[in-house]
């Protein structure tokens, strides 16, 4: 790093260049690294829980004693600590892992490059956005060490439980406020940048699909998060000033009548929470679809099939995602007419998702596929996201959801979407854009060593959960369902899942080695190592401050691969003239 610093010695100090930077690329990398650390941390919490589920009540060997008597006395996990791990695993993975990686990391680094912009429109807000995220992360992390530990009411923080929970819940709410503020600043910045800073010639329908995905995602973040902020204010008032927004009358806690005045509604929280959290599901998946589209076009060497229908589907999906939220609440007794409405909208929203996925699968047809590491992850994404999406249909219909709600089936379903789905797309993106960010390619061998075990273990984790859930095993059980008669037939799967989870952790070692060792790769990648068509590859690798040596002009749509009248199999957006096939002209 210090050598690097000497090279670019010009005007900025180390702190302004690498820590409090306003450069979208540095901020993107800061986001990426912080989010990867949080993903690893959130995964670690889950690995601890998997011990308790596979071997309930047994002492965790070696490291168990490190957690102290108020978490794991004698290495045996307390139920309170299990609840903390569960709540914080969800919170960290969604709000501090996947979304910051997908939007803050990839969005920040790639979007300005792909639209030919020198930076984001509001660079200082961009920096503020990262630091709000950082502060939110610190608050969430610190909450493990306050009296009573971290939040214990699930990542959904349902009241009245969350209203009367220990101090950690207040920290959770404050952390969420910081994270919401961060995503708000980011969303404003992305939308303005995409509208205003497009390079000459870059009309909306010449955007790479990834830019479209980030554009729609930003609207979801902008408009869906504020109601959760309102709900968080309500819950903070409940917890600090003793109001009863979410406390019903006559609530009995541990055999005693609650002192709260009542008049509130626990369902109100659920409505406000899911008004955010359903669009949030699309925030998790849309950038992933964007990355997969980029990687597939590049590695099949042909244009994306049905680009326009994908874009229209994306926009429609964005609108619809605001009116499906109560399909998470079929069991609340909100009434069958409400359920009928929300299951109808839910079935409708599956149509654009299927269109996008189908278009991506059809894009493979007749392509000359290069099985590079990013392509392997992108290819695996398709069936994994497909399984995740299709297993969601029974959950979107009220009658089948009654059986499946709150079982391991739900966990299996959304993890298929987010883990081997979104996270695989994120890995594809890291392998794909790493040469742009560092000037070096990652090792293909280590990449494959990362990919194949990850694919196997991911399925080893989440497929058995479907079986357990169909058998009726409830989620969030401290003992993994040991005491229930009806779950006995599915109990043994816990060990399979846990061993797969630890295997998945081992499978990440090649990735970590690859991530750091490739920085020292003596071979430079060049500006356009994948022979790609989009604008980010017009910039030097790594791009300097201000990105482009000269402002690029866009001449054509995003994915002109294997053009019949061109002598190479790719025709970049930024290349003025196509060359006639027979002539081997130089540019």
């Amino acid at each position: 790093m210090s050598d690097h610093e000497h090279e670019h010695h010009e005007e900025l100090s180390f702190w302004r260049k690498y820590v409090f930077s306003t450069d979208h690329k540095v901020i993107g990398i800061q986001y990426t690294i912080t989010a990867l650390i949080f993903l690893f941390f959130g995964f670690t919490l889950m690995m601890l829980m998997r011990w308790q589920l596979a071997f309930p009540g047994k002492a965790l060997p070696i490291i168990g004693a490190l957690f102290g008597p108020d978490r794991m006395p004698g290495g045996i996990m307390l139920p309170e600590f299990y609840n903390q791990l569960g709540a914080m695993h969800g919170t960290i993975m969604v709000f501090m892992g996947v979304v910051p990686l997908a939007v803050g990391g990839f969005g920040n680094f790639v979007v300005p490059l792909q639209i030919g912009a020198p930076d984001m429109t509001f660079p200082r807000l961009n920096m503020l956005s990262y630091w709000c995220y950082f502060v939110g992360g610190v608050i969430m992390f610190a909450s493990f060490f306050v009296p009573g530990g971290a939040a214990q009411s699930g990542w959904t923080s349902y009241p009245p439980l969350s209203d009367i929970a220990t101090q950690g819940q207040t920290w959770w709410l404050c952390g969420m406020m910081a994270l919401i503020f961060s995503s708000l600043l980011g969303a404003i910045n992305f939308i303005t940048t995409i509208i205003q800073l497009r390079a000459p010639g870059l009309s909306f329908f010449r955007f790479p699909f990834f830019v479209w995905a980030q554009f729609v995602t930003s609207f979801l973040l902008l408009l869906a998060f504020p109601p959760l902020q309102a709900a968080s204010f309500f819950q903070l008032m409940d917890r600090i000033f003793g109001t009863s927004f979410f406390m019903p009358e006559g609530l009995v806690i541990s055999g005693e009548l609650s002192a709260a005045t009542g008049g509130g509604s626990p369902i109100l929280w659920q409505h406000l929470f899911w008004f955010l959290a359903h669009p949030e599901v699309y925030v998790l998946i849309l950038p992933a679809l964007g990355i997969v589209a980029e990687v597939i076009a590049n590695n099949t060497r042909r244009p994306i099939w049905g680009y326009k229908s994908m874009v229209y589907s994306l926009i429609f999906l964005g609108f619809m995602s605001f009116i499906v939220w109560a399909h998470h609440m079929f069991l609340t007794g909100m009434g069958s007419s409400m359920s009928a409405f929300f299951q109808t909208t839910t079935m409708i929203i599956s149509i654009p998702s299927v269109i996008i996925l189908t278009a991506l699968i059809l894009s493979l047809w007749g392509g000359s596929i290069r099985f590079t590491t990013p392509m392997l992850f992108a290819l695996a994404f398709l069936p994994m996201f497909g399984i995740g999406g299709l297993t969601g249909l029974p959950l979107g219909l009220a009658s089948t959801d009654i059986h499946l709600h709150d079982t391991y089936y739900v966990i299996g379903h959304f993890h298929y979407v987010v883990a081997p789905g979104t996270l695989f797309a994120m890995f594809a993106g890291i392998y794909y854009w790493y040469p742009k960010a560092t000037g070096r390619k990652m090792s293909d061998f280590l990449g494959k060593l990362h990919f194949w075990p990850s694919l196997i273990f991911m399925n080893g984790i989440f497929m058995p959960m479907m079986i357990q859930g169909l058998a009726g095993m409830q989620r969030r059980l401290y003992d993994g369902g040991e005491i229930y008669a009806h779950t006995q037939t599915a109990l043994h799967w816990h060990k399979v899942i846990s061993i797969s989870a630890w295997g998945l952790a081992l499978a990440q070692i090649p990735f970590i080695i690859n991530f750091f060792m490739s920085l020292r790769n003596p071979k430079t990648a060049g500006d356009n190592p994948w022979h790609s068509t989009t604008l980010e590859w017009a910039a030097p690798s790594p791009p300097p401050h201000g990105n482009f040596t000269e402002l690029p002009t866009v001449y054509r749509a995003a994915y002109e691969y294997s053009h019949p009248d061109h002598d190479e199999d790719y025709l970049p957006q930024f290349q003025a003239d196509r060359q006639a096939k027979p002539a081997a002209a130089t540019t």
Binding site: E249, A260, G262
Partner: protein, 199 residues
């Protein structure tokens, strides 16, 4: 090598807007959703309540709130006048109108303070009743917005006004953006007043 970010001041020809204006409108859209969430909470809690009590039960003063409404509307008018003065390159008029805008914001908060303390003196706290919980939360969050807008306007009146010498166009844009936010804060109160005091 490093290029300046375009359209910070002048509008982009094909969109007809500069960056700041898009940014502030997007921000206001998210603010609409924030207060939308709060008002949705109000509606659901009121409709579902078995012992709803109106504001008059807790002695909420309509004359004071009406005065506050007038104060905020006045400040919105002077805010526009301040911006219009800059368009006409009349900086001293700008100072005058912006000063009045800030003072109106201050006046609003003073009246709000009087209202709050009178509630507290009668033993009415957020925890007393669900209506008061809504009243204090909604007006409290609105109050935070008033303070934020007022502080930024005060900055534009005082130290921030130096920009008029160096970059008058950019300064005018800032005043315009701040004005849009201020009108929004005003508009929220226009909804809060009938919802909490009259209905």
């Amino acid at each position: 090598m490093s290029m300046a970010i375009p359209y910070t001041v002048e509008p982009r020809p094909d969109t007809g807007l500069n960056n700041v204006k898009i940014g502030i409108w997007l921000f206001l859209a998210s603010e609409v959703m924030l207060f939308g969430g709060l008002f949705a909470g109000y509606i659901i809690l009121r409709v579902g309540s078995t012992d709803w009590l109106p504001g008059s039960h807790f002695g909420l003063s309509v004359p004071l709130a009406f005065t506050n409404t007038l104060v905020l509307i006045t400040s919105s008018v002077t805010m526009v006048m301040a911006w219009a003065s800059l368009i006409r390159k009349d900086f001293s008029k700008y100072r005058l109108y912006m000063g009045i805008t800030v003072l109106c914001g201050l006046g609003f908060m003073v009246i709000k303070y009087i209202e709050y303390t009178s509630k507290f003196s009668h033993g009415y706290y957020p925890s007393t009743h669900i209506f008061l919980a809504l009243y204090f939360t909604l007006t409290g969050l609105h109050g935070i917005h008033v303070i934020a807008g007022m502080s930024y306007n005060a900055y534009l009146w005082g130290p921030g006004a130096k920009m008029w010498e160096t970059a008058p166009e950019q300064f005018t844009n800032r005043v315009e953006a701040s004005g849009l936010f201020w009108h929004f804060v005003d508009l929220v109160w226009i909804f809060l007043f009938p919802v909490l005091y009259l209905l």
